[in-house]
Symmetry: C2
């Protein structure tokens, strides 16, 4: 199955590349890549001439979300043109998109942070313009690829990636390959039930990990405690409770605010408990935690690790398991789109 | 990483076997296999001379659990000797074990239905006797392999297997390979949290899918309803509530008993809700449901499918998804141990 959108005959497993010397063998190193990271805030593109995470050219502009879906597409094409080499022989374009998509058909179902992007046939539109292979990936899957190949999970065949910010995205590497599933939608680890009948999730369901522990949940729980009369430095610093953000809660927690600490600890505990379930399903060697909320640091990580350990069914699952912060920061999207396009 | 216990250099990805004609290429078809299915009730062994699910010789005896762990090991060796060919050139032995194990080291951590089996170095013990490669697998993982290669999920690269009986075991195929994880423990889908603070699970944790929806949970919930005064045909037919089993509840449900139907429906609903979470993580093409409880049939499957559909975050996950009963019945263990040993 052409999971990453490339014709199956050109994709050969790594073992074959090492052991087979037939001239027809596909060698990933021959390919050059333009990687695009489409975010709700910024749109980045970079040209990677070889299999290293250092681009030869790159550009970054604010994503023109307010100008409508057509303008966003136009800007994507412009940024690619800016960084792409003149010689486009063996060029591929990899694009990380913030939403669910069909990587085979190349259709973006929905990109919540890019208004109007519904059922966009992005692969066909870009292919029409550039006439080179276009490979699309969900942004969290793509970031997982980056952390696996060049970041915090280098060298591991089995890893989970969780990015905790406005939502919770995920990516899974098993047996040394990205798990995309039958329709390329796998890895939605933020949309697993952790609290039946719980808070409304961005996806319309209830009680998902994202609804209970992402940034908006942290902000909401802080506001609820304030409304219930608890004292906090958040009110003095930030005005009325409606304006309190997860970022502000994280800062207050790290400044010693008890309410903020309790809220962050609760989020860590919920995430850690769900990590135990995920460890039972995937038995990873590394769990990489990224996203803005993860930068709160040890106040989030410590309760998370405690809960993970407390909810594991057998200590063998913890043998050699590492839970680490993401290493590539904002570059994960670009680098991952490069890894995706390269097909390695 | 030698995930299935074979030296890495002998394992070549399918693509390489098709495309490479070097004489060093490993061909799975050259191998003959003795498969062993160690169950809490029966111990089976069979000789598979080639890559088909039809054994040339097989044997089945009651597992002598009451005679202690040493007697069980002795009987495993005896059953293998009974079916193994005289010429053991290129023979491998695959063993499915009912409990968590380390497939690389070949140590069985625990086999709850085989008393006294704790940290048994089964691979070394069998290798000492037979001097051929021994490959161990968890029974649910092994059954997943069987259903994938020869049963209800034939032809799919992405499938989930759930066996619902005294416990709930699982197995995952992603990208056309069994997901074993870093220590060979992956696929414990029955030990994911579905009800925080819920019923005590066999593993010592609380609120796992197994604790809320496996056979003992079904029996317990029927007894609780009876104790609360609900009317049911179960009391007349089966005596006092303490003796009510999941099997009896299933039979009563299929005979129209309303209490039994409600209990089965609740189990189906809990399983279906968790399937939605699993579909978000794995995006499988096929979900195979096996185990004794699954034989209750549509009274379990219908609420399960309704809950799965109701809790999916996006209809794209349901595209082409099939949820089907297991096809191989009691033979899944033997056939899966053969597939495991063959390494294909």
């Amino acid at each position: 199955m052409p999971l990453n959108g490339l014709p199956a005959k050109r994709r050969v497993a790594p073992a074959a590349r090492r052991e087979c010397c037939l001239p027809l063998c596909y060698t990933a190193d021959m390919v050059t890549v333009v990687a695009v990271d489409l975010g709700g805030t910024n749109l980045r593109a970079a040209y990677f001439p070889d299999d290293h995470p250092h681009p030869k050219a790159q550009t970054k502009i604010p994503t023109p979300t307010h100008e409508g879906p057509q303008a966003v597409l136009h800007r994507i094409i412009q940024t690619i043109e800016q960084v792409a080499p003149a010689d486009r022989h063996d060029l591929r374009i990899g694009v990380g998109v913030p939403g669910p998509l069909d990587p085979v058909e190349g259709v973006v179902f929905d990109a919540p942070n890019v208004p109007g992007w519904l059922d966009i046939p992005l692969k066909a539109l870009l292919q029409q313009h550039f006439n080179v292979p276009i490979i699309l990936g969900n942004d969290a899957n793509v970031a997982a690829l980056a952390e696996w190949r060049y970041g915090a999970a280098r060298g591991s065949d089995d890893m989970l990636y969780l990015t905790i910010s406005t939502g919770i995205g995920g990516g899974v590497i098993a047996n040394g390959r990205l798990v995309l599933g039958a329709n390329g939608l796998a890895g939605e680890l933020g949309h697993m039930l952790v609290n039946p009948g719980g808070a409304l999730c961005g996806c319309g369901q209830h009680g998902h990990l994202e609804a209970e522990a992402a940034g908006p949940a942290i902000a909401r729980k802080a506001r609820e405690r304030i409304a219930a009369g608890e004292r906090t430095s958040l009110i003095d610093a930030k005005g009325p409770p409606a304006e309190i953000t997860a970022e502000a809660v994280g800062r207050a927690a790290n400044s010693g605010d008890l309410l903020a600490r309790a809220v962050v600890e609760e989020a860590g505990e919920i995430i850690g408990r769900q990590l135990a379930s995920l460890v039972h399903a995937f038995n990873p060697e590394v769990i990489v935690i990224g996203g803005g909320v993860s930068t709160i640091g040890s106040l989030l990580f410590e309760p998370m690790l405690l809960a993970l350990r407390a909810h594991i069914m057998h200590p063998a699952f913890l043998k050699n398991l590492r839970v680490v912060p993401a290493a590539l920061g904002d570059d994960a999207g670009l680098i991952g789109a490069m890894v995706l396009a390269r097909g390695t």
